[in-house]
């Protein structure tokens, strides 16, 4: 649509054209009040994207505020491209998670790929070199061809982008559940490393300074992506998408190297990526953070297509672009660096005193709006919250008990469940070794990367079991954080901080808002207990298909610090003859468990209990014992309970395990929280038992490659060769993917 053909301000009002952009009637009125006149087409476009849920957090802001976000080691909490945490030696770790659910539902390969691209830019825009990528994925059951297509393409997209950029994808998680059949989740996390002195901010400071555009030219990609991400999916979603964003990892790699060089120059004042809502949000946010304004000349914005209008340029979500503020007079230095990396750059504007975002195009002012109206004045909704009936119903249900008696068969069936099965099929496609720092590769509780030149290492993980949260968002929220922390501890690291991605249905539904409220409250409490502040995150709402919301799915991405490489621990058994201990007692905790789902096809009842103080105490004990060199291997007990956990300890090893326990389904399969299975060299047994009083010896790592679990009366509960376990566990996903029926 050319400029002349755009609807006039009057038409926008009289025909309520703003509603097509996702702006509500009362929001429109408020905009008119704020700018003192009717907005033109470009201006209403700016508001529509910045006031979308994706950019303004209008339904979630009050909830996010309750997260603890500071601490002595926190250098940057939420509000910038990514959170920053001090790890000593003048170094810091930088990380954030981002969702790309909606784009991935429509075009899975590109949706996932550009999700990776976006989160990388968030991290290197802080001045940090990306050192790791992780991802958390949710799909429907692999039984349908469309889900298999989504799954294969999403994984291929992540692999295609991350591998090319040369950042190892070292971890993540994948779960499958009916609830995601129409609305897959693709959350990507990036971790970067920085020398603290290079830390950058996205600010437009210094009146008279120059605004520069760096990176790929702008096309008509993904216009209204931010709005799109703030709506539920329906049949017309495919058409609505004007043009899917296509990622170009080769350009990203060059933009990355160029930016890491740019940030070393003192001529650079501020830098931010153009993410959701592109040029609009980066310009408005950079000005807003500094209380300044920006004048921009859109004629000089690098363009890929002919005849683009201001509206299109401002709302485009073309990938691989950055916005810089540079000291006046030093533009040439920046240009030279861009040229070296063969990246386009252009001087497109100036920082000014009045707090207006003013856009010129072909000699006319095409938009002139107060920056604060776009950002700070974005509406925040006090949404009604209502506990759903189902919650009380589940609470009242009598305790669920498994009916199966054949534990041997149950174990194999659990290992075959795609949610539990090995994800090797996925991570084999990710380059998880490039940069040669990966100490613990995908396949253990957390991935661990060494920091060259130091004795330190970083552990990282992503977790979030939505089944608990669906039944009980408050306890489920606590569990999500606790599980992530437990995974970090198992690898020998101390949890530092976390980033979170809140994937929910429509917050305008009181029941869903209640889920948000309860789960974030639970998460906050856990963060407080573990002293792991939330330093960054992302909110993805309206994850619904034709009115049906997904399970509430907050994903936690956590980073921990290994103080000494000696402490790095994995879940795999290390030596025959080592004693196997289980820490924590099993209770009959079945609500939301994998076994319940296996037996009933649905989840119900009360979720496992979560005592945060006990959780914290055990984490300290386990970490202490690891640091004291008492522990050979450590694995937390989660989906599928102890039997699955022990099976995972023997798989991919030359060993087996011989254990004795009660003939009790809870012992074997319950998902009681705050539990671990560890192995300990016999000479350390006594010391360990003192250090961790809740540790009970259950058996021994054996040379014989089989998992044998018996009762004290020598009744066999489980007997499976290690190879069978491995075969079933590793074969499950490839087999499902290959089946074309």
């Amino acid at each position: 649509m050319s400029l002349q053909l755009e609807p006039t301000a009057e038409e926008i009002q009289s025909q309520r054209l703003y509603t097509d952009m996702g702006v509500k009637d009362h929001e429109y009125k408020r905009i008119v009040q704020l700018i003192g006149r009717k907005p033109n087409y470009t201006e209403i476009g700016l508001f529509s994207v910045l006031w979308s849920e994706h950019c303004s957090y209008k339904h979630s802001k009050p909830l996010l505020k309750q997260f603890p976000s500071s601490g002595t080691h926190i250098l940057q909490g939420p509000g910038e491209g990514a959170g920053v945490v001090d790890i000593g030696d003048d170094q810091a770790v930088v990380f954030k998670v981002e969702s790309h659910n909606h784009p991935s539902a429509v075009e899975p390969y590109q949706g996932a790929a550009t999700g990776v691209g976006g989160i990388l830019r968030d991290v290197f825009s802080m001045g940090a070199r990306p050192i790791a990528l992780l991802n958390s994925l949710r799909f429907g059951p692999l039984a349908t061809p469309h889900v298999r297509y989504l799954f294969e393409e999403v994984v291929a997209g992540i692999s295609g982008y991350g591998n090319c950029v040369g950042v190892p994808t070292i971890g993540g998680e994948v779960q499958f559940d009916e609830t995601y059949a129409g609305n897959p989740l693709v959350n990507a996390m990036c971790v970067g490393l920085i020398e603290q002195k290079h830390l950058q901010k996205g600010i437009a400071a210094g009146v008279g300074n120059t605004v520069m555009y760096v990176g790929a030219p702008t096309g008509r990609d993904g216009i209204h992506g931010a709005t799109f991400a703030s709506e539920e999916l329906n049949e017309s979603s495919a058409e609505k998408r004007p043009s899917v964003q296509v990622g170009d990892p080769f350009t990203e790699k060059r933009v990355l190297e160029a930016c890491l060089e740019l940030v070393k120059s003192d001529a650079l004042v501020g830098i931010q990526d153009m993410g959701a809502a592109g040029l609009t949000s980066s310009a408005a946010e950079m000005a807003s953070k500094e209380g300044s304004g920006i004048d921009m000349n859109l004629d000089v914005v690098p363009q890929r297509e002919k005849g683009m209008t201001p509206y299109e340029m401002m709302l485009s979500e073309s990938q691989e672009r950055m916005l810089l503020v540079v000291q006046k007079g030093r533009e040439k230095e920046m240009e030279a660096i861009c040229q070296k990396w063969d990246i386009e750059s252009a001087v497109i504007g100036t920082v000014k005193e009045d707090q207006q975002l003013t856009l010129e195009f072909q000699g006319q002012v095409v938009a002139d709006v107060p920056v604060t109206a776009l950002t700070d004045e974005a509406p925040v909704y006090d949404v009604p919250s209502e506990e759903p009936f189902s919650y009380q119903e589940h609470q009242q249900l009598p305790t669920w008990r498994p009916k199966r008696k054949d534990h041997n068969a149950t174990l194999l069936e659990l290992l075959e469940r795609p949610t539990i099965a090995s994800k090797e099929w996925v991570y084999d496609q990710y380059d998880h070794m490039v940069q040669t720092n990966t100490l613990v590769m995908p396949g253990s509780d957390s991935a661990v990367l060494r920091i060259r030149g130091t004795k330190k290492a970083l552990a990282m993980t992503m977790d979030g079991n939505s089944r608990y949260i669906a039944l009980d968002p408050y306890i489920g929220g606590k569990i999500a954080v606790a599980e992530a922390a437990r995974n970090i501890v198992c690898s020998g690291a101390e949890p530092l901080a976390l980033t979170d991605c809140l994937n929910y249905g429509s917050p305008e539904q009181p029941n869903i808002y209640w889920q948000l409220e309860q789960s974030t409250a639970g998460m906050s409490q856990a963060c407080n207990t573990f002293e792991t502040p939330v330093v960054s995150g992302n909110v993805s709402l309206y994850n619904e298909t034709n009115g049906e919301a997904i399970h509430p799915t907050p994903i936690v991405g956590m980073v921990g610090l290994v103080k000494d490489l000696e402490h790095v621990t994995t879940q795999h058994f290390k030596q025959a003859g080592d004693y196997i201990y289980v820490i924590g007692e099993a209770e009959s905790a079945w609500g939301g468990s994998e076994l319940q789902l296996l037996e009933d096809g649905e989840i119900s009842g009360k979720v496992p209990h979560m005592d945060l103080d006990l959780e914290e105490k055990r984490q300290q004990q386990v970490l202490g014992a690891i640091r004291d060199g008492l522990i050979q291997s450590a694995h937390d007990i989660s989906e599928g309970g102890l039997a699955v956990a022990v099976a995972e300890c023997v798989m991919d090893t030359e060993f087996g395990a011989a254990m004795t326990m009660e003939n009790n389904a809870a012992e074997l399969f319950s998902e009681t929280q705050s539990r671990y299975v560890i192995s300990v060299a016999p000479e350390h047994a006594q010391e360990l038992e003192q250090a961790i009083p809740d540790a009970r010896r259950y058996g021994t790592v054996t040379e014989e490659k089989a998992l044998s679990i018996k009762t004290r009366e020598e009744q066999t509960l489980i007997l499976q060769p290690t190879d069978t376990l491995t075969h079933v566990w590793k074969g499950a996903i490839p087999c499902l993917v290959r089946s074309k029926v």
Partner: protein, 83 residues
């Protein structure tokens, strides 16, 4: 059996990093006047003849061969010259 040629290309306006890279490289190699390059796919299939041939081809393209969200396709049926 007939030979079917399916030609797939990115839709107008969709970024084509491959095309861009090839164009860049051709220019660097000294080929002047190469203005636009698009890299697409050409799929050759040997398919059984039949009255529903067109319908079958179209359905194959939409279901599997092309990605209708970002790609367009055209096709050609090549029949042996009749004697």
């Amino acid at each position: 059996m007939v030979n079917v040629h399916v030609y797939i290309t990115l839709k107008e306006g969709v970024l084509d990093p491959q095309g861009k890279a090839v164009q860049h490289s051709l220019t660097a190699l000294g080929y002047e006047g190469v203005e636009e390059v698009k890299v697409g796919k050409w799929i050759k299939l040997e398919v059984a003849e039949g009255s529903d041939l067109d319908a079958r081809i179209e359905s194959m393209c939409e279901q599997l061969l092309a990605n209708p969200v970002i790609e367009n396709y055209t096709y050609q049926v090549e029949r042996e010259a009749q004697v």
